[in-house]
């Protein structure tokens, strides 16, 4: 029996819970050569900025055990080119699109939201809060609940009511729950976590940092336990808020782990560099896993790990049979 994989991001229904992570799917067209983008829940774009950005110098990437350090520096074409070419390309193919936005000031985020407001094909807006705040000595917004909430509130204020605003949180903060709560109070319809924690690698041959930028974001299975912990804590504190979980998802099992922790949508990121078909494979494996546990609806397993120990899981068909 097929599993009902539908899920909700705020009031927006997605056909299934597997989406791409921001910055891991190019402009969409690169992955479309491998699979039909319409088969996954949504495509998340790279973080769109007002002006075109050339990004960081190379080397931008270093492989670490079960992980990847990257310092791409939000290379992208800028919002004008995005609205002229990339978004229409996705919209024409009816691909659900979560647009990630990045800025250096609250005003820049607001201006981006205003530009996206009347663009067709925006399913949701994900606010990348891990950008340096130019007005606060370059400290990233996501470190601080107040700064994050200010950005979210201003984006929410200008964004059309039927487009959910998602706050993307970083684990590089003292208390992710308080940042999450501040974002929800600021008007976030959903939360996504986790952005890459900062890491560093030094090349012992050259005796210099492996990345030109010095530090970079760590992704891949190396950060999965960190992601599960963050989703778990935020779900415990804010059980009603939809969570997009991401961090080192390579298989359906990994996606299921984040869903059990409380995510209702799961993003696949670094896995796409290894396996261009990762999204469809994760979706298939997840569906098989949910079915194998005896469930017919994805909604019934979201946050299931939060039930008290020993408590019977609800809606299990095999339990109903055994109760006779």
């Amino acid at each position: 029996m097929p599993v009902d994989m539908r899920t909700y991001l705020g009031h927006v229904e997605l056909a299934n819970p597997v989406v791409t992570a921001a910055g891991c799917a190019g402009s969409g067209s690169e992955l479309a050569q491998f699979f039909d983008l319409g088969r996954i829940g949504a495509v998340t774009t790279r973080s769109i900025t007002m002006a075109p950005r050339a990004g960081r110098p190379t080397p931008r990437m270093a492989e670490t055990p079960s992980g990847l350090l990257n310092a791409v520096g939000l290379q992208g074409p800028g919002v004008d080119a995005f609205l002229a070419r990339e978004l229409p390309w996705l919209a024409q193919r009816n691909v659900r699109t979560v647009v990630s936005i990045g800025g250096g000031t609250v005003a820049e985020y607001t201006a981006l939201a205003r530009r996206l407001n009347d663009a067709p094909g925006v399913t949701a807006v994900e606010v990348n809060l891990s950008c340096p705040n130019i007005e606060d000595r370059g400290r990233v917004f996501a470190r601080d609940g107040g700064a994050s909430a200010e950005v979210i509130a201003s984006v929410r204020a200008v964004m059309r009511y039927d487009v959910p605003v998602v706050a993307k949180l970083s684990p590089d903060t003292a208390d992710i729950v308080s940042v999450a709560r501040a974002c929800v109070d600021g008007g976030a319809d959903a939360l996504s976590m986790i952005n890459n924690p900062l890491g560093m690698s030094i090349d012992t041959e050259t005796m210099l940092p492996a990345l030109a930028a010095g530090t970079g974001g760590l992704s891949g299975p190396a950060i999965r336990p960190l992601a599960v912990r963050c989703v778990w804590q935020v779900r415990t504190a804010l059980p009603g808020v939809p969570i997009i979980g991401m961090g080192g998802v390579l298989t359906g099992r990994d996606a299921f782990e984040l869903i059990l922790a409380g995510a209702c949508v799961v993003a696949v990121g670094t896995a796409l560099f290894h396996d261009p078909y990762a999204c469809t494979r994760v979706l298939r494996e997840l569906e098989e896993l949910v079915a194998a546990r005896g469930y017919q609806r994805l909604a019934d397993v979201i946050g299931l790990a939060h039930r008290p120990p020993g408590a019977a899981a609800r809606h299990r068909t095999d339990f109903e049979e055994s109760s006779l």
Binding site: G23, C24, A25, G26, E30, L31, Q33, F34, R46, M50, A51, P52, R53, A54, G55, R56, P57, T58, P59, R60, M61, E63, P65, S66, G67, L68, N70, V72, Q75, G76, G78, V79, D80, A212, G220, P221, T270, A271, L272, F273, H274, D275, P276, Y277
Partner: protein, 283 residues
């Protein structure tokens, strides 16, 4: 496309390794200059990025095989070097933009440094089929690191070899021998592959002679399919604007004179979207 291919043969060529893999889907779409992105470490590996290798050769055996050449310089390539016949490999390909070929029968010099030479033989074949004259200049640090000298001698009008230690051919680098070869054969075009520094030198020579150069770059990649944005280098577009372009999808073959080799590893101040907002920053 992604193919799980069976290793047909492995061979060691002096300092390098060559693997032939049965991959019909990749072989039939192959054009000279294409590359494959190979997953390393087997299932459950801790190595997440694919390794990119130019395709050296395709053959019609078993529906189609591809061969690629590599040097061991890390745990990923060390794992590849341990593969044996009948092992399986996960390949994505063929990837990248292939070498453009001239319409007319012209004279082409193929310049290969280290195992970068591997990609040139399929191009040379294609050029010869179009009636082009082909000459080779191959080099490496030492005799064992010059790849394909025998095959070059068999197919080319002339073959010039260089080694930095003088153990084979001329002492020096390919860029030292290249001006003489271009002048002798009255070359119309140069095809080059090798480390960035070599391509910079080759391009400078070709520019001196005012002939076009097609250079296949070797930039580190994580995905090979254009999504990871890590293999960028500054390239001047048709409109004169420098952009940070991906060597996997916009390359790996570029017109040498368009690549700002001196600025590789930096963001040139006048590149589109450079920090500090150069005059060309829109918005």
């Amino acid at each position: 496309m992604q193919v799980t291919g069976t290793v047909l043969t492995t061979r060691q060529v002096d300092a390098y390794h060559a693997l032939t893999v049965v991959a019909p889907g990749i072989a039939e779409r192959f054009r000279p200059g294409h590359f494959v992105a190979v997953a390393v470490g087997g299932s459950g590996t801790s190595m997440l990025t694919r390794r990119a290798f130019s395709i050296h050769d395709v053959k019609p055996d078993y529906g189609g095989t591809v061969e690629f050449v590599f040097a061991v310089n890390g745990p990923g390539t060390a794992w590849l070097a341990e593969r044996r016949a009948r092992d399986t490999l996960d390949l994505v390909g063929p990837l990248g933009r292939p070498f453009p070929l001239p319409r007319d029968p012209v004279t082409c010099v193929m310049v290969g440094d280290e195992y970068g030479s591997a990609v040139l033989f399929a191009v040379a074949d294609a050029l010869q089929r179009r009636g082009c004259r082909v000459d080779f200049v191959l080099g490496g640090a030492s005799a064992g690191r010059v790849f394909g000298a025998m095959r070059a001698r068999r197919m080319a009008e002339t073959t010039t070899l260089t080694t930095e230690d003088g153990s084979l051919g001329m002492r020096g680098r390919v860029t030292d021998a290249l001006p003489g070869v271009i002048a002798d054969v009255r070359a119309d075009a140069v095809y080059a592959s090798g480390p960035m520094e070599t391509l910079r030198g080759v391009t400078a020579v070709a520019v001196e002679f005012d002939i076009p150069v097609q250079a296949a770059v070797e930039e580190r990649m994580a995905c090979g399919i254009g999504v990871c944005m890590t293999c960028v280098l500054p390239v001047i577009g048709d409109d004169g604007i420098t952009r940070m372009v991906r060597s996997c999808v916009e390359g790996p073959v570029f017109r040498g004179e368009r690549v700002r080799f001196d600025d590789v590893g930096t963001i040139p101040f006048d590149a589109l979207g450079a920090p500090g907002g150069g005059s060309r920053n829109a918005g």
